[in-house]
Symmetry: D3
Subunit: 192 residues, 6 copies
Amino acid sequence: MTTNRYPAPELKDLPDDIKAKVLEVQEKAGFVPNVFLALARRPAEWRAFFAYHDALMLKEGGSLTKGDREMIVTATSAANQCLYCVVAHGAILRIYEKKPLVADQVAVNWRKADITPRQTAMLEFAMKVCLRAHEIDDADFAPLHAHGFSDEDIWDIAAITAFFGLSNRMASFSNMQPNPEFYLMGRVPKQK
Amino acid sequence: MTTNRYPAPELKDLPDDIKAKVLEVQEKAGFVPNVFLALARRPAEWRAFFAYHDALMLKEGGSLTKGDREMIVTATSAANQCLYCVVAHGAILRIYEKKPLVADQVAVNWRKADITPRQTAMLEFAMKVCLRAHEIDDADFAPLHAHGFSDEDIWDIAAITAFFGLSNRMASFSNMQPNPEFYLMGRVPKQK
Amino acid sequence: MTTNRYPAPELKDLPDDIKAKVLEVQEKAGFVPNVFLALARRPAEWRAFFAYHDALMLKEGGSLTKGDREMIVTATSAANQCLYCVVAHGAILRIYEKKPLVADQVAVNWRKADITPRQTAMLEFAMKVCLRAHEIDDADFAPLHAHGFSDEDIWDIAAITAFFGLSNRMASFSNMQPNPEFYLMGRVPKQK
Amino acid sequence: MTTNRYPAPELKDLPDDIKAKVLEVQEKAGFVPNVFLALARRPAEWRAFFAYHDALMLKEGGSLTKGDREMIVTATSAANQCLYCVVAHGAILRIYEKKPLVADQVAVNWRKADITPRQTAMLEFAMKVCLRAHEIDDADFAPLHAHGFSDEDIWDIAAITAFFGLSNRMASFSNMQPNPEFYLMGRVPKQK
Amino acid sequence: MTTNRYPAPELKDLPDDIKAKVLEVQEKAGFVPNVFLALARRPAEWRAFFAYHDALMLKEGGSLTKGDREMIVTATSAANQCLYCVVAHGAILRIYEKKPLVADQVAVNWRKADITPRQTAMLEFAMKVCLRAHEIDDADFAPLHAHGFSDEDIWDIAAITAFFGLSNRMASFSNMQPNPEFYLMGRVPKQK
Amino acid sequence: MTTNRYPAPELKDLPDDIKAKVLEVQEKAGFVPNVFLALARRPAEWRAFFAYHDALMLKEGGSLTKGDREMIVTATSAANQCLYCVVAHGAILRIYEKKPLVADQVAVNWRKADITPRQTAMLEFAMKVCLRAHEIDDADFAPLHAHGFSDEDIWDIAAITAFFGLSNRMASFSNMQPNPEFYLMGRVPKQK
């Protein structure tokens, strides 16, 4: 099944603040990622969703790079089998990391990906938050500290994982499809 | 382990909008539920979290009662073994449903709980969103429609489940503890 | 579904020895816990069940307190999602431990409960007996010995877990419901 | 590891009633099955265990044959990976069913075993009691009724499964080894 | 970790029959897929592996297209988290199906992929062979027959799944890495 | 269900090379193991299957004995619940190891079997290849090296496991039944 279960609103019918943000994204990306329209049918949820997203993904400070953040999203979304997030955030991951192969590696089996030991430790923790958060204990923090992650960084890893767990479930349940543009983005030179 | 891993800020140090909301909750509940302070160390995330929460849990319209909403939270948080959410939202569930036994039943085994067939169908769907959202297909919507849930109601069920999946992971990872007051709330007359 | 699948016999129709025990329990607790009547439809099984129960739960000697024993029952019954045992034995756990919050903590996520490190080690072992007894090996005994448990204590932990695994399956299969009295017991002063 | 973790008492040191039963079994079987001595170190538990066992396995009446009962034990003990019970009860199953191949078939994959459709339905239910008793609902009873099982027969199936779940956990935890005699019993003519 | 654990032999050191096949593949694909060299360190296994591969994947006749066959490989290899097979066979899938998006869809969540209902039924069966072959029964064949698959086609589906289950385990265990060329193949026009 | 889903060809209709091999096996074993005829309906697959089988199981050199190899097959086939392979290869295991009890032990719970610590380490690795090959990392190789297994031996362990994973799936899907002769083989003196 490849159609969203819930019809997306048209751009012209959106509240002004949402419309403005959508147009800004379109300007920057060259297209409107489907999640912006799919969630806009519920403006209050839309605003909370993107406020949360931006607080976590556009955050200044801390030791997580933008590539690290997208890598967490890609790995945990793959564990949740979320088509939208793996394809869309895998694309952004490729761009930030400037590594055309890394998203597929992280999505299929992050243990085999061409990433740093620090990133492997980061994903190990993210996957436990994703799949067995109730079992997290002190022993899970030690390897992250050893790689130089602060407690605030660890909060970032957990929060990004938790937020995209929400996003994954919304996308899967509503059958949200990634825009075709995402599939190729970051794979070839000049591709933007 | 029974202490939050991350120190909560003091009320006096919070931004005004957050402080105002916390005081309002304290006024109404008689105490400050720990989640309000625990998340306040990150104001931007706090604002997004509660905006999302309120959009889903205080929503007007639709066929889900407030009791239904808390029942979804209790059942799915139990599946995620989230101590904070099961205890806190189980308390609110007892109050809204005016059934002192229902929260424990739903948390231990929702299939055996003294709830309506409509609520059982609602929880069946919520549990699938919680545990296997990637497997949801058309066949999962039919029984909900048969019980009178609209597509908007189903979105509510899914979104509440997804949002508290986020909340569960944050609470478990950070070792958030429920306030002692919640454990007894709604179990005895006059309580609250 | 909230009715036992199998009708319970009436007190007056029970064999004398069973009737005597039921009356004794009623005298002590103020009500007849449903398990006493539900299993009494099969007198030979009833006698074996309670003989086994008493040999494990009323045993003199060893380092396990009565609170420890009920804690094992509550934690493993929660893993088996047995409504009857979690609610009934959670009540007794609260009373023996004199901790009104401990049963809910142990049932939802024993790793987050306000219990001693010795009790945590005890539950770690009990959960392995409950869920993966076939994988138990020498390495599982070492941490228990380190906490002062003797081999006889460890037998107690395993046997209590195994016996309530039986009890959980009988209660779930037959839809045995906990008496309403259990839900509140041990939560408030004077209660009992 | 192939030695019982807990030393078995010697026959001469057993209480009279237990000694008498052990001698009776030895007379009948030609050897003392290890479970009789392994559990005898705890006389009260021994008595309850075998009283329960006999109530379920030697029961008169009902539509379950002795072969059916041993088949339930073999299938569920295999699911629990209990070496003692699969080997010992598989032997008895071969004898009662007079089918030298049936125990291995049932232990490895009961769905492929040369048994009747009625026995397949019986095992389907037993496996659910063994692995997911908390999910049992009305729909699980219908196919058993269709095969002529009464509600009392279904209780027998569940109780045998539950009891051997206890037995499996005790045997696995304590590393109880089946007597060598069991491995060959019922496989060749004249054997026994 | 991104290096094969076992060093691959050099082309010049290979037996003549293997060298000939490798050169033929290189001629056709423009590069030597790593699996050809990685397995060549064991010539007898290499010959059996590719004989089996060709018998299943290059088979004439039957209703499975080459695209169908690669789709089975991609979906089941993703379930086994095999990086090499998902990337390499996903590439071939894109080419045969002439659908640049289909491989990512099938790998992340085949239930959401833009494929035909016939292909969905095919993958449903393949996934059961991959994950729970021991539970396959008659009921699994009916939907395939309904979509026009013959028993021989069903054997093909099962055999391809089983063979790549072998391949997945060899690739994962030995840390076989896909050639970089595969990642982009079939995604852009003119790509070969 | 106890009949193969796919009819086996008759010996007389087989290609000459296959017929010759079948007759050779019959001469040696006294009967034709069903797998030889069941797969012969597809001669090209048959040839690849047995070439692979022989390369792994009849290999000269390395530290794995023939008993070790059959032990790997028995343990992993039991994990896959493959009736044919557990019964047939369990028989050969008994013969090679000259231990009439070992096959049942390994099949029911290899952790409790009367085998050497070296064999336990070997099976631990084989089971990970069987069930979670994608998680294998360097740490899994260390205990094998400590027991004297070379990297080539480890390849053998992995390849045997992977190959019989294929075999298990083919046998289960097609409902291949073990010959009755296998069940008793190696259990009694003189049995060959």
